[in-house]
């Protein structure tokens, strides 16, 4: 695939963790392209490096060597503060455990990323309400996370991920803690975001059913991409 049409283009990516005196290479030279509008599912056994790869793509961590281009810009060499800004503008994160702030209402949680923008309080609120409406939680905006079901909390997290209109959604086992029905709702929502709103998505999952929602699957085993299937 051509790097020019790719949103994300990864070349020979290596990640080594230092654990005490030991160095452990977790990713051994990954090459991967994610075209715009893709919905790619990353599968593989536990400990194979899926989260590590997602964190590098999302700019939460920096690679040991190799290259990551995002929208034609190299992010592997960005300074930590540049990367922080870049993340806020380009990536939405969705985690297995929702990671909402428990003391804030759904609305305030969704507003969080907007605190970093120049928007006024009214605009922030307006945008957050639209995002919550999109995930079907318009009537729950005042609820704290503890007053919401797991599926609802994950929808708040999705609203938070899309509120600043990022190009790529990075999802690490988003349905891992959910029952089948809630999981299907979340996956339909992600599909809708991908098809109707043009969000590119990379999602890690263990669930073959979840993988069916994706356009393609890539498999990681012991730090190496083994096969891609369409």
């Amino acid at each position: 695939m051509d790097a020019l049409v790719s949103l994300v283009s990864i070349r020979n990516l290596v990640k080594t963790y230092q654990r005490g005196p030991e160095k452990i290479e977790v990713l051994h030279g990954i090459d991967l392209d994610i075209p715009r509008g893709d919905f790619v599912c990353l599968m593989g056994p536990s400990g194979s490096g899926k989260t590590t790869l997602l964190n590098l793509i999302g700019g939460l961590d920096s690679p040991t060597s190799g290259q990551i281009d995002f929208d034609g810009k190299r992010i592997d060499q960005m300074s930590s503060s540049k990367l922080t800004q870049w993340r806020a503008n380009h990536i939405g994160f969705i985690f297995q455990s929702y990671n909402l702030l428990p003391m804030l209402s759904a609305l305030k949680n969704v507003e969080l990323p907007l605190l970093l923008t120049k928007l006024t309080a009214a605009q922030r609120r307006h945008n957050a309400e639209i995002a919550l409406q999109l995930v079907g939680l318009k009537d729950r905006i005042k609820h704290k996370p503890s007053e919401l079901s797991g599926g609802q909390q994950q929808r708040v997290a999705i609203a938070r991920a899309i509120v600043s209109d990022p190009q790529l959604l990075v999802c690490d086992e988003p349905t891992g803690d959910l029952d089948r029905k809630s999981a299907d709702e979340i996956l339909s929502l992600l599909t809708q975001l991908n098809q109707e709103h043009g969000k590119s998505i990379i999602m890690v999952t263990h669930d073959p059913k979840a993988a069916e929602y994706a356009k393609r699957i890539v498999r990681l085993d012991k730090g190496t991409l083994v096969a891609a299937s369409a």
């Binding site: 939460l60 961590d61 930590s80 503060s81 800004q85 994160f93 985690f95 990671n99 969080l112 970093l116």
Partner: protein, 384 residues
């Protein structure tokens, strides 16, 4: 400030714990306000004392009397501008020892040397026209509900009248305002020395102490020595000090209040430091994944540092403001009981000091957690 609601919500993330910590900070700062008010009352005399005013009293005991004739001799000492005198009357009012100072003085002389006592010309004229007239501090008049024209009977304990009567009745002719000493001076009653001297049973021609105004405060030591030298080896030797030294010595009779107060407050501050520090570091530990999320969403390391530090400052300042307010109200409520001791209010200086200590507390307690939060790596934080 758009981050305020986030900081506020983080602070009250664990309501019970935060409220308990807040309560102890409130109590600590209330104690601070109350004790500092006491401390200030005891040192207030020294602060408002004039450095170019000396006090000459009997060398061996401040209750020994001195001959009034010394006045002219002291006036002749080089460097002395003016001399006035006063005496301790004491007495009881309404069967209780008077909770205010009562001094017989010569009106013109005394007011000239104590310009901080402001008396209107009408009042002064009325006082000079009325031998049994007295002027009282504004605060005292207000507290006792005395009006001009009232007759105030005091029961003497040291000074019976010639006819054996213990009751001295004064006509209130007006009030004075003390520009310097809000705590104490407003609560005095001054009456006329000529009336006192003529009516008292014994002790004619003697007074309690002289107030000596000097040209230059830098000469206080040498002028004082010259005065005391005049009366060396006489029946009534004297001791002359600046008013400041005198007031400090007076306060020291009650023990070194300032030292005791500092020791107590030091211990309290330390306890609060440990307690609040513990709360903040515990709060931080519980919140590591949340801080990781904030960073994930694009909050910079520095922003996270500020969030944590401001939270700690908010806790300390909130507690201090509430505690100091309580101290202000407590002293206001007990005012009538406390003014006798010169304690009238929690001054602005005490409030400012309190807020300074609150900021210090907030910074000390917040610094380490803020640093920890700032250095947190996202991948580690999210795993916690």
């Amino acid at each position: 400030m758009k981050y305020f609601s986030l900081i506020w919500a983080s602070l009250f993330r664990r309501k019970t714990r935060t409220i308990l910590t807040l309560l102890s900070i409130i109590v600590a700062f209330m104690l601070f306000g109350l004790l500092q008010a006491v401390n200030q009352a005891f040192n207030g005399g020294a602060d408002s004392a004039d450095a170019d005013r000396l006090i000459t009293n009997s060398r061996y005991s401040i209750i020994d009397m001195l001959p009034v004739a010394y006045q002219r001799q002291i006036e002749s000492v080089p460097g002395v501008k003016a001399v006035a005198f006063a005496s301790w009357f004491g007495g009881s009012y309404q069967d209780k020892p008077a909770q205010f100072a009562v001094f017989p003085v010569v009106p013109d002389e005394y007011l000239k040397i104590a310009p901080e006592l402001q008396v209107s010309p009408q009042t002064l004229a009325a006082w000079k026209a009325d031998r049994t007239g007295a002027v009282v501090g504004e605060a005292l008049a207000k507290r006792m509900h005395w009006k001009v024209g009232d007759k105030v009977p005091l029961q003497a304990d040291i000074w019976p009248q010639k006819d054996g009567s213990l009751t001295w009745t004064f006509d209130i002719v007006g009030t004075f305002h003390n520009t310097k000493d809000k705590a104490n001076g407003d609560s005095a009653l001054l009456f006329r020395y000529d009336y006192f001297d003529e009516a008292r049973q014994y002790g004619q021609g003697t007074i309690g102490w002289f107030l000596v105004k000097i040209d230059d405060r830098r000469h206080a030591g040498s002028v004082g020595k010259a005065i005391d030298a005049l009366f060396a080896n006489s029946d009534h030797e004297t001791k002359t000090q600046t008013e400041q030294v005198f007031a400090q010595g007076f306060a020291k009779q009650f023990g070194d209040i300032a030292l005791i107060v500092s020791a107590i407050l030091g211990a309290v501050f330390f306890a609060i430091l440990v307690l609040t520090g513990n709360t903040m570091s515990q709060a931080l530990r519980e919140r590591i994944p949340e801080l990781g999320i904030l960073k994930t969403l694009g909050f910079s390391n520095r922003a996270v540092w500020w969030l944590v530090l401001l939270e700690s400052l908010l806790l300390a300042i909130l507690g201090a403001v509430l505690g100091l307010l309580l101290a202000v109200f407590a002293i206001g409520a007990m005012k009538s009981m406390l003014t006798g001791f010169g304690i009238t209010e929690v001054g602005w200086r005490v409030v400012a000091e309190g807020l300074f200590f609150a900021c210090l507390l907030g910074l000390l307690v917040g610094f380490a957690p803020a640093l920890q939060a700032m250095r947190l790596k996202i991948v580690d934080a999210l795993k916690a």
